[in-house]
């Protein structure tokens, strides 16, 4: 068997001197250790730490300076936070948090460093090789043939250059030099790799508002999705937010041998039944919460537990899949169709092995992906895919169920995938109408015309999307509501992030809660 691969990221300032001393002495540094010298442990972002595991590392040691001796003051604390979060992610993925270690040494502590490295090698030896199998992507030249096929298949030629799209597009309206029609025409003209085209393809939110307004109904989101695939295949990447961590995470999940712990955090009051033919597919919320724990304090896992509680309320006890993987939505929408397909095949096989007949999900992206994009990509699931709102609406409409009054004035943020791409803005509203808040007022842009929360598929976050989020939150504020109800974990994350704008302060601050949370809190038997 191969020797394990251990990456040692070591700070240039303090411990590197200790490492050099070991080298000078020709000490017995474990042969598995590959040393990479870095300027400061605080500069090792979560995505960089994780990337090592995606690329096949079996262990990663981050070695820096004692907290008081950091050259930059706060590097060590940052590293501690990052390592804690990444250990959480490694645990969820079933790789085990022990594969990542943080240690601190002064320049003269070379013996202690050696001891640490030898111990760590032994630990990794005991845990064994990582089940992650890297999938390096073959790059080719940008394909004009492929582009022509994409353009033809979405009939982008039908664009009349009328400008309805750019007068509706939230990105354009946020002030960015961005025009769907100009991009479409440039691509038709064969211009694939000019900076403006590349920037535009990766800036689109794929929210679909332009398609809704387009007199020729050019399906822009689908067109963008496939263009991203073409560009990425040619090595032309866009900006991925959070250092590409989430794409990296999803690619890692394509390794078939992972034994993921997706559900071991689930509160004990929730009942599931592993023999049920109904599967509750939760989505990536536990990863989001772990990743953003120290930054936004998001709690999107509540959406999962509250959905399950609501199902339990109606005596529905679905199965959950302990090794649940991502549905692949964000890979598909950020140009990585190969890895999307790998995930889709693994998921389809897992559903079949569990004997699942119906999948219930509360995430609009999972819903869209499982019900539309799997069959379209040639991976039909022989199961019914149900959004949890449909299930709840059906159960509640049987009667005898009511809601407690709640002391909030609420407004609602539509998720693009459900309200627009799926064309069902009425579905969450049916449920909202049943609630008994102190008031419910819609925002200016709502339903099929709603504004996006500002980001999609972890790409293209910039000051313009921030401006868009600001605009959206101001719209929410104008309604006079004190609670913004969302229906997608990402809307919650992005809008919470925007609220941290120090220059806006209270102007855009608002409590946020998912619809399932509000329902679980107030539902009752009459």
């Amino acid at each position: 068997m191969d020797k394990p691969k251990i990456i040692l990221f070591i700070c240039n300032w303090g411990p590197h001197a200790a490492f050099q001393a070991l080298q000078d002495k020709d000490a017995d540094i474990p042969a598995e250790v590959r040393m990479i010298r870095i300027p400061c442990t605080g500069r090792m972002s979560k995505s960089l730490l994780f990337k090592s595991f995606e690329m096949g590392a079996d262990g990663v040691a981050l070695v820096g300076c004692e907290p008081g001796s950091c050259r930059y003051g706060s590097g060590t604390e940052t590293a501690e936070r990052n390592v804690e979060d990444m250990r959480g992610i490694l645990h969820l993925l079933g790789l085990g948090g022990d594969r990542l270690r943080l240690a601190m040494f002064l320049p003269d502590e070379s013996d202690a460093l050696l001891q640490f490295l030898q111990d760590f090698r032994d630990v990794i030896d005991t845990i064994g090789k990582s089940p992650v199998t890297p999938h390096p992507r073959d790059l080719s030249a940008l394909s004009h043939m492929e582009t022509a096929r994409v353009v033809a298949s979405h009939d982008v030629y039908a664009c009349q250059d009328c400008g309805k799209c750019s007068s509706a597009c939230p990105v354009t309206l946020s002030g960015k030099t961005f025009s769907p029609r100009a991009m479409a025409n440039a691509i038709i003209g064969g211009d694939l790799d000019s900076p403006s085209v590349v920037e535009d393809v990766w800036s689109c939110l794929t929210c679909g508002l332009c398609t809704d307004r387009c007199p020729s109904v050019v399906n822009f989101p689908d067109f963008i999705r496939e263009m991203r695939h073409v560009l990425k295949g040619g090595g032309v990447e866009g900006h991925q937010s959070h250092g590409g961590f989430f794409q990296s995470l999803m690619r890692t999940m394509t390794s078939p041998d992972l034994s993921i712990n997706h559900w071991d955090w689930l509160p004990e009051d929730i009942k599931t039944d592993e023999k049920s033919s109904i599967l509750y597919f939760g989505g990536c919320a536990p990863y989001f919460d772990t990743f953003f724990r120290h930054h936004l304090g998001v709690n999107t896992s509540d959406i999962l537990s509250d959905s399950l509680r609501l199902m339990n309320f109606f005596d529905i006890f679905p199965a959950v899949q302990p090794g649940e993987r991502c549905c692949g939505h964000d890979l598909l929408w950020s140009g990585d169709e190969e890895n999307f397909l790998r995930l889709a095949r693994l998921n389809a096989k897992a559903f079949e092995e569990m004997g699942i007949e119906e999948i219930v999900t509360s995430c609009p992206e999972c819903f869209r992906t499982l019900s539309h994009d799997y069959p379209r990509a040639g991976i039909p699931l022989n199961v019914k895919v149900t959004h949890v709102y449909d299930l709840l609406e059906k159960e509640i409409s049987k009667g005898a169920v009511g809601f407690e009054e709640s002391d909030h004035k609420i407004t609602f943020q539509d998720p693009c995938r459900l309200s627009r791409l799926e064309g069902r803005p009425e579905l969450p509203r049916k449920l909202l109408q049943r609630l008994r808040p102190r008031g419910f007022k819609e925002m200016q842009d709502r339903g099929i015309s709603a504004l996006c929360c500002g980001n999609c598929a972890w790409t293209g976050c910039d000051s313009y999307t921030k401006a868009l989020q600001n605009k959206r939150l101001r719209q929410a504020k104008v309604t006079g509501s004190d609670l913004l109800v969302t229906a997608c974990p990402k809307c919650q994350i992005h809008l919470k992030c925007a609220m941290q704008d120090p220059f806006r302060g209270n102007e855009i601050q608002m409590e946020i809660m998912d619809l399932t949370g509000l329902m679980a809190k107030t539902i009752k038997w009459e």
Binding site: D269, D306, R309, L310, N312, F313, F314, D315, E395, K398, G399, A400, V401, E404, M519, A520, K521, T522, I523, K524, W525, E526
Partner: protein, 200 residues
């Protein structure tokens, strides 16, 4: 839901409402389901006389395991009221351990009692389905969930056979909605009794 009812010894049912609400039809369907499908004995007597359109009318059904010697309802086990007039006239006659089912939007209950009481928005559900005249069928669906008079299947089958041609599907939906409502009410009572009122 359990579809096998316990052995019914002898049950007297009174259905009342306005003329035109399909009270007599509901009584007919209930009796036919019990006798022709569930193979029990049943009788139906009806009173509508001069009140045929608008006044109180009633259908009296007896369902029994053995031969029925007297076809009139004396002290009903179950009273279903689809109008205030019917309630005022007949609710007093119900047995102390009996069951009272009313349309919650049409009947105002006067005082509390130990009776098992169900309020059903039958007319509202029927309107949602498409025709308010199907409130009687909604009530039958409800009855099939909360009582052991007849099996759900028997009643459903008889509803579909007894309603005018072309309305089978709508009536079937109305029946199922009524049944679901009844089942939900029972589930809610069960949950509340177990101390689980909400989802958290």
């Amino acid at each position: 839901m359990a579809t096998k009812p316990k052995a019914v010894q002898h049950k007297e049912v009174l259905i009342t409402g306005f003329g035109g609400q399909g009270i007599v039809l509901a009584g007919q369907i209930l009796g036919k389901a019990a006798s022709l499908v569930d193979r029990k004995e049943s009788t139906l007597t009806q009173s509508y006389g001069p009140e045929a359109r608008g006044g109180a009318c009633s259908a009296q059904v007896i369902i029994s395991q053995s031969t029925i010697h007297y076809p009139y309802v004396r002290i009903p086990h179950i009273v279903v009221c689809l109008s205030q007039g019917g309630y005022d006239k007949y609710a007093k006659s119900i047995r102390p351990d009996g069951m009272l089912i009313v349309d919650q939007d049409l009947v105002r209950i006067s005082e509390g009692s130990d009776l098992t009481l169900y309020r059903v928005p039958a007319t509202r559900i029927a309107e949602e389905v498409g025709r308010r005249m199907m409130a009687n069928i909604v009530m039958l669906g409800f009855l099939s969930a909360v009582s052991d008079l007849v099996t759900r299947e028997a009643l459903h089958e008889t509803v579909v056979k007894s309603v005018p041609k072309g309305t089978e599907e709508l009536n079937s939906t109305a029946f199922n909605k009524g049944h679901d409502y009844g089942a939900a009410i029972l589930k809610g009572m069960e949950k509340k009794a177990a101390g689980k009122k909400g989802a958290k």
